[in-house]
């Protein structure tokens, strides 16, 4: 830019926006409790959708639980599924419109308990969808009951003496279970409890969408999340618990990654 009065070239100081709300998220506050990791999970999904510029061809499936209000936050078409059936509903959307990108976010009650059959068979059929599994080891929306992923000894409103395997069985490792199936193309478990893990989580979620775009098959990312309200902890304590108690039982990492679609 030239100054009209002086012959000196004036450098313009440009301000680049380096952090903003993803286009895919509507500008409203989340209803999630303070310290809950769900909002981060939503954002990671939104960033992946923005990254691939697929907002206008993506259809989301809302499951029952704290993730049900997905349609209030994502700036995309959303369908609401019955409790536990989100992966079947998402498969139905995808089978009808294979040219669309379909994802769902399911909680641990939704996927690990009532909808475990649908989850397993969706993976086993190699449905070309992206499933984000929000695992906080508790039923958040109904008020803190025991989930299939509740850790041994963990107290909840329906395991008041702590989860005891003789009565309640063991916490289910969904990622490991789904990774054994031939139909699954990408299986990862991540956490968002610190910046390093968050960056890995971001990569994994992005990869899970990339797999779908490349028609590789079923892509699954389990995100370990904190639920301060129902864990009856402060946000900080809950965040710390993810690292200290959850990760040792639910190890992080990429469990499976298909390099080439079977039929190519």
């Amino acid at each position: 830019m030239l100054c009209a009065l002086c012959p000196l070239r004036v450098l313009e100081v440009s301000m680049e926006l380096v952090f903003k709300r993803p286009e895919c998220l509507i500008d409203v506050p989340f209803h999630f409790c303070p310290g809950c990791h769900h909002g981060i999970g939503h954002r990671l999904v939104a960033e992946a959708i923005d990254y691939f510029k697929i907002r206008e061809k993506t259809i989301g499936v809302a499951s029952v639980g704290c993730s049900v209000f997905m349609y209030d936050y994502f700036n995309i078409d959303v369908l609401e599924a019955p409790h536990g059936r989100a992966s079947a509903v998402a498969s139905g959307v995808k089978r009808a419109r294979k040219d669309r990108i379909v994802f769902t976010i399911q909680g641990d009650g939704d996927l690990g308990a009532i909808g475990i059959a649908e989850g397993i068979h969706t993976a086993n059929r190699g449905e070309n969808i992206t499933l984000i599994f929000a695992n906080n080891g508790i039923y958040g929306m109904t008020g803190g009951q025991m989930a299939p992923t509740t850790l041994l000894g963990q107290k909840t409103t329906t395991s008041p003496y702590g989860r005891d395997f003789t009565y309640d069985g063991y916490p289910i490792r969904m990622a490991e279970m789904l990774a054994t199936l031939e139909g699954s193309a990408f299986v990862a478990r991540v956490a968002v409890n610190n910046p390093a893990n968050l960056m890995k989580a971001k990569k994994a979620v992005r990869k899970a969408f990339q797999m779908q775009i490349e028609e590789m098959g079923f892509a699954f990312v389990e995100i370990l999340m904190a639920c301060p309200t129902n864990w009856k902890m402060t946000a900080l304590e809950a965040n710390r618990r993810v690292g200290e108690e959850m990760i040792p039982y639910f190890p992080l990492g990429i469990l499976k990654e298909r390099k080439m679609a079977d039929y190519l």
Binding site: G92, R95, A96
Partner: protein, 380 residues
Amino acid sequence: MITRDARGVPSVVRFARMLQFVCGGSVTRTDTEKMLVRGNEAIAMGAIDSGCLLFFGYPITPQNEIPEYLSKHLPAMGGEFIQAESEIASINLLLGASATGARAMTSSSSPGISLMQEGISYFAGSELPVVIVNISRSGPGLGGISPSQGDYFQATRGGGHGDYRVIVLAPSTVQEMYDLTCLAFDLSDKYRNPVVILGDALLGQMKEPLLRGGYHKMELPPKDWALTGAEGRQPRKIKSLYLQEGELTEHNWKLHQKYERMKKEDVHFESLRTEDAQLVIVAFGSMSRVSRTAVELARREGMKVGLFRPITLFPYPEKVLFSLSQVVKSFLTVELNTGQMVEDVRLSVGRDAEVYFYGKPPGSLPSPEEVLEEIKKYMA
């Protein structure tokens, strides 16, 4: 990138076929062909001819010919067939497919239909179209596979949780299995509501001549609600959760008005020799066939007997039946159960009309002669 699926169908071909029927492309068959087929096959053909290329189901007797036929034909047409892990998965796969605006169907039999009820309630609440075929068997519990009309209440009263209704069509011939399947798709799109086709093993397994094709499609509203990706438009949401003050009340009234509209616009029935009848048999589906023969036998003996056959079990032809009861004062409801539709007949007719019931639990079909004996009781 052109990829192929496991069956070797190139993805571009599949997309083209998909788009064709999602966008309401003309798949409807206009030429006709005469053939000898089973009732179940007629339903499968009706689905294909209505542009339904998506079928998700789970095996159960006595409806297996439907998924078997469609698993053979749909993939080659660019459609999708999934043998799901359960009826629960089937109905929810359909929920997703239907939300995209595509025509989709499932078929099952009584216990399987029970498993689908949760999903059907979501269809009603989310106002999504779907066609559900119930080639019903006998219950309760595992029951048996013999013909039964024991699912009348479940079909006509909604079946799942909440205050809703589904349209119920009751075919009585192989031809009607085909025709009513075509009609079912149109009605489900017209009202954005599930439509149930209620048959039984007798209708599903028997062979009769079928004139395939020739169904005239209804003028239907555009699917401006379908989830196709928010390309160049505001995002859409399809849901059945309404938590804000007053929202759910409004939603339920809206649904109610829709059901009232069905009662005005889409009641189907058949009357046979009711003009001069002193006694009218009311029967649907397989029992209307037995009753039809019984009416003929009675007429031969000089008894003035007619047959009234509801084709839509919901909306029930209550007004027509009421008008009929102004002239005819005796009705005999014949059912293959211990008394279900008879309640609707009693609710429909005038107070001075007598409603009798003849029914049999599953296990054996009443013969026309048995029905004739029953007629004689009330004609004396």
